[in-house]
């Protein structure tokens, strides 16, 4: 039970060295809060301004104002579609553009003066065309989504006014829970994995502290084996990782993340496997370093890779290398958190069954084993080598 004694010692040291612990554990909730502030909350909304310049036209039943009708249609539809489009009338083109500039609107639709005339002329021998103007900042995601959906809605409405039956109709089916999720919620699975990636520093530092202070020499001449030492130390870091993950999840829930009932067990399983994986990865980092300062310098590089090339911080294409039996081998397949993020996205975003994540879980376990074997071998060779 020497590993247990090492574990108790590690707990004492970790708690007494509370600054490192606090920084590691607080980092993930902080990231989640930053993402929450960056993204809009609740299901995404797109604000569309309608500028009605339509003069109307005389038909058999009198004066017709189809521009007003379009604005009323938009107002009635507001918030009822997915994604949520909020239509509002604006007094003039200039006023609407000003609102675009200050960010309170995503797109502007200008209804031309001949709008009614053009619609009514459709059935005549000389049909007229009205030019609807769509204005927006093409660099903004809000404009792109708002413009596409607005065009679709207006086209449908105009077709019905002109009594044109379109040969096609669109139906949108959102994958899993993605349609009901806010942008912030879509980031949460990756950020939960990120909360575990963060422990690389504390885990590597906890291991490197012994050779740095030369206390490892005392352990090397004792009966403690390298496996017992690593087991006791890793168990402490497993607790740190669990704490970090739990705090990150609680923060996300407090900020509006909706946990799908029945998925908590799966979340715990993935967090457990990812924690083991990151602790094993830390052994490799620890084997390369002689001091905590070196961990801070050398450890930044793998942390950067794991954060940005696994989809933890944001979705990323891993870069295809080659294909084996239909499976695309990606450049980031050597980074285990990629599989954790993918597994969480499958269940929490795309609504897939847990059993469908078996390939990702297998990848995660396999890489964890590889990290562990490489890490223990390198650690023994670098720090535990004596007689």
């Amino acid at each position: 039970m020497r590993w247990w004694v090492v574990f108790i010692k590690g707990i004492r040291e970790q708690v007494r060295d509370y600054w490192i612990l606090v920084m590691i554990v607080v980092m993930a909730p902080l990231f989640i809060t930053i993402y929450y502030l960056m993204e809009e909350t609740g299901p995404s909304e797109y604000h569309i301004l309608l500028v009605n310049n339509d003069r109307g036209a005389i038909s058999g039943s009198g004066m017709v104002q189809l521009g007003d009708s379009l604005v009323n249609y938009g107002t009635i539809l507001s918030g009822r579609s997915v994604p949520s489009l909020l239509y509002k009338s604006s007094g003039s083109r200039d006023m609407a553009i000003e609102e675009l500039r200050n960010g309170s609107a995503d797109a502007v639709v200008v209804i031309p003066e001949n709008f009614t005339a053009a619609v009514l002329s459709h059935a005549t021998a000389q049909p007229e065309q009205a030019m609807l103007e769509m204005i927006g900042d093409v660099t903004r995601l809000g404009y792109m989504i708002g413009a596409v959906w607005t065009e679709e809605l207006i086209s449908g409405y105009v077709n019905s006014l002109a009594e044109i039956v379109s040969p096609v109709v669109w139906k949108e089916t959102t994958l899993g829970h993605s349609g009901q999720r806010s942008d912030f919620e879509l980031f949460v699975p990756g950020l939960l994995v990120l909360s575990i990636i963060m422990i690389i520093f504390s885990a590597s530092a906890a291991i490197v502290r012994e050779p740095e202070n030369r206390t490892l020499e005392r352990l090397k001449i004792s009966r403690l084996t390298a496996s017992e030492f690593l087991m006791g130390t890793s168990l402490v870091q497993l607790i740190v990782a669990t704490l970090s993950f739990a705090l990150a999840l609680l923060t996300a829930v407090a900020l509006g993340y909706r946990l799908i009932p029945g998925t908590l067990g799966f979340l715990i399983l993935v967090s457990f496997l990812t924690s083991l994986s990151m602790i094993s990865f830390s052994l490799i980092v620890a084997a390369m370093c002689r001091s905590i300062k070196e961990v801070a310098i050398i450890g930044t590089f793998p942390l950067f890779l794991l954060m940005f090339f696994t989809g933890a911080a944001f979705p990323l294409d891993g870069g295809k290398l080659f294909e084996i039996g239909g499976y695309q081998v990606m450049l980031n397949d050597i980074l285990s958190p990629k599989f954790a993020v993918e597994a969480l996205n499958k269940v929490l975003v795309r609504g897939q069954e847990v059993r469908e994540t078996l390939p990702e879980l297998a990848g995660l376990i396999l890489l964890t084993l590889l990290y562990f074997l490489a890490g223990t071998w390198a650690f023994r060779r670098r720090h535990m080598r004596a007689l």
Binding site: V5, K9, E217
Partner: protein, 321 residues
Amino acid sequence: MTRSKQPQPAAMEVRSLVKRYGNLLAVDRLSLQIHHGEIFGLLGPNGAGKTTTIRMMCGLLRPTSGEVFIRGMSLRASRGTQVRSRVGICPQENILWSKLTCLEQLVFSARMYGITSVLARRRADALLCSMGLETKRNSLASTLSGGMKRRMNVIMAVMHDPEILVFDEPEAGLDPQSRVLVREFIRELSIKKCVIITTHNMDEADRMADRVAIMDQGRLLQQDTPENLKRSIGEGDILVLRLSIPGSGRLERAMQKLSKGGFSPSCENDCLTIRGMELIPRIHEIYRLLEMEHIRITEMKMRVNTLEDVFIHLTGKSLRT
């Protein structure tokens, strides 16, 4: 029925130990035998290979060639922690877990050798008392003074009750009171154990060691009891005189006269050292010979050979680079 008595193997034996770092030969074919119940001093200037030697003795460093035996069992062949745990080391630097209390680290250290928690606590309390650290039982190591850390370092080595104890500069950085305490502690340990100390302090080695080995540049120069070593460079008294010399050539003439008179004089700057048996009754004779050359004595010291003399005699006066 007759029973042949098997000779006890040495507590620690090193045979033709070599440690090479690239082109640097840190330890060169060193062979030593250290027995149970003795204090063995390992002396040498900086860079002589003392620390490298004791690190190999403890199993912290792999020798390039040669063997270390503990109670006849090879450290290399056994590869076992069982053999290695018969050694306790007090390193030159204080190696403590700064975020553990004194009691916690003593207990932790003992438990790494399979000692039960109850026994470890009892032993830790006794050792803390013996080193005057009982009031610091629950203080973090990081809050201890330098001297206290040093004393903690000493007792960390003995927590698992090893047969062989290695103390690397045990008195370094200690105040006189603590030095006496540590010295007495080590002396008491040597009754039942084999103690190896490395030191620069010749006085410390002379007072404590039963046998002394002097190393330089990785090689063993000489090993024997302190008395025999001192005797090996000449017996009798040493008279050290600081002189005021009025002109050139006078000192050389005085030294010739002293040599003819049966003394062994040597001179460095204005300091004349004379060796010989029973010097005290002959001081007036020396005084007269010097006065004949108008040389005046400004300071006079009488002493016997020390280990430092042996050390300087064997290793020279030049600084190691």
